[in-house]
């Protein structure tokens, strides 16, 4: 028994070490005063201070934040409509295949998503005659594509678990469908919208693959900045950038999870089968 317990704690510790030691290593050394990566020479904020003066870093970070906010918002708007249509729309034949199709971007290789979007935008460029092939606009579209299925499935799950009677009661009280959606459905969805937005933000903020196809020289995002920097040479500055990215993404994921748990605690009455009685 005791040996078994020891073995379990050991394997648990090993698993977590495997996951977290490399990240912790980066975080720890981002505070080292040494100019060589992997050498400890006392605590220092110098790399963080140096970042503030780095114009390229500042631009990339601002661009990434703006991109993630816009893309997450777009993904939330479109994903909510998709999830709502799947959960509350008419019971058409093929609704289930549609739900599966919506999730396809989740398991299609990202490199294909990026490549196909690049081809699409280049083709659009020749049709429209406007240079939209690279830059922030295609990045927003691409990142919204990444986030949409996630938001749609979160919204769908929330609606499927919510009693239809709320919406029926609103209709019965004289509200037309658009008002019902705005004043009943959306407020009931609020926790799902918050966590869906956070997840879409995270997907956009740390995306490299799709962005590397579409960013172009004028729209370098923060992960692309890191990637191109380490090709020149690894500097401790990159450790500081990595730490900032980890903190931002972790904050989003934790908030999304907390919202999800709060929503589960304030659980609404279970959906009653709307079948005949």
């Amino acid at each position: 028994m005791a040996a078994g317990a020891r073995w379990r704690s050991f394997s648990l510790a090993g698993g977590f070490a495997f996951l977290y030691v490399p990240i912790l290593w980066i975080i720890v050394y981002s505070f080292s005063a040494a100019t060589v990566v992997g050498v400890w020479k006392g605590f220092s904020w110098r790399w963080y201070a140096g970042l503030l003066d780095n114009e390229d870093f500042r631009l990339a970070a601002e661009r990434s934040l703006l991109l993630a906010v816009v893309a997450a918002t777009l993904a939330t708007a479109l994903g909510t409509l998709a999830g709502y249509a799947l959960a509350r729309g008419p019971r058409v034949v093929g609704r289930r295949p549609l739900a599966v199709l919506l999730g396809v971007p989740l398991f299609v290789p990202e490199i294909l998503v990026g490549f196909s979007l690049l081809l699409l935008f280049v083709a659009l460029e020749s049709v429209l005659g406007v240079p939209v092939g690279k830059g922030l606009v295609p990045l927003v579209a691409a990142h919204a594509t990444l986030g949409l299925p996630v938001v749609a499935s979160v919204v769908y799950a929330r609606l499927a678990g919510t009693d239809r009677h709320y919406e029926e009661a609103a209709l019965d009280l004289g509200a037309r469908p658009p008002r019902v959606f705005l004043t009943v459905t959306l407020p009931l969805l609020r926790p799902a919208l918050a966590s869906g937005w956070m997840l879409a933000f995270t997907l956009s903020f740390d995306d490299v693959v799709t962005s590397s196809f579409l960013a172009g020289p004028s729209a370098t995002t923060l992960p692309l900045f890191v990637y191109s920097s380490i090709r020149i040479g690894v500097t401790p500055e990159i450790n500081a950038v990595g730490t900032l990215i980890v903190v931002t993404v972790a904050a989003c994921v934790v908030i999304a999870m907390l919202r999800g748990r709060l929503a589960a605690q304030a659980r609404l009455p279970p959906a009653r089968d709307a079948g005949p009685q």
Binding site: H165, E168, A169, L171, G174, A175, P187, R190, Q277
Partner: protein, 365 residues
Amino acid sequence: MTSAAAAGTVELRGVAKSFDGQPILRPLDLTVAAGEFLALLGGSGCGKTTLLRIIAGLEVPDAGGVRIGGRDVTSAPPYERPVNMMFQSYAVFPHLDVAANIGYGLRAAGLKPAERLALVEWALALVRLEGLARRRPEQLSGGQRQRVALARCLVKKPAVLLLDEPMAALDRNLREEMQRELVRIQRDVGTTFILVTHDQDEAMSMADRVAVMEAGRIVQCGPPREVYERPANRFVARFVGRVNFLEGVVRESTSAGCRVACGPFEVRVAGAGAPSAGSACTLAIRPERVAVAAPPGAFLNELEGVLAATAYFGDFVRAEFRLADGSRFEATLAAGAPAAGGPSLAPGESVRLGFDADAVVVLGP
């Protein structure tokens, strides 16, 4: 009758509905007068909730028509009907406080805040929830939530109020209080109420008329007393109250009544409309019309039964007998009264059971 009162009439003609090829409502007709309190009574799956949802506009019937206040609303959406529905789950909006819940329908109708406030206060007083206007739904008890759901409907001053199993989630004491309260409110506002319930006591004690449903049909519709005392068939007799059945063959039938042979006994039945001599029939006798250990000759009909068991219910005792052919026969006795030996009977004793000719109902097929 004023036109405002007539707005509360509900007429269903040939309404039918099926889900996935499964018929839930067979073509049925129903007319509810303005200001009437009608109960739709039936077991689960009989179609009573579907019928209510069709009146509310939440389901569209496959066939037939719905008229409310004389206007054809068969294909009108719920938000264009002068009807409001109280859901079994109450469906009180969890993100709005009590006042906003009650004012929801008024807001949808475009009323100004001042008008809304006055009406919400009127509705809060009507359901006796004054002072709780700012509470959130999760801070309310089940009974209070139900009152919010009721007020939210009544504040719209609907011509017809639909109630889907409103008492199902309440405990027994609260249920009886709310039943009285609902009857009071119905008298006060004069709205047509249509209540769906599986609880026969609830239907009988509250409604002006009871419609008993079975397998998508209305099998009998009438005042509670009529449904109880003259049930149309075996299903109604058994669903509404307790009943004894005797199978027999009609010996003689006259305009004043008939004589029916039930095994070794002969039962006299009062009243016209009996089936002709020679036909088989079922007789129904309510347990409370049966006298236990009746003196000989006191009643027109007499059976011999052996006491099998008694059950004590506080205000009455239910005694179960076996007849000569082995069938069950029940009688109820007032527990307090020193009724003809009732409580002192011992199981296994043979007793004379008496009942009058007018206590017997000949049931249809």
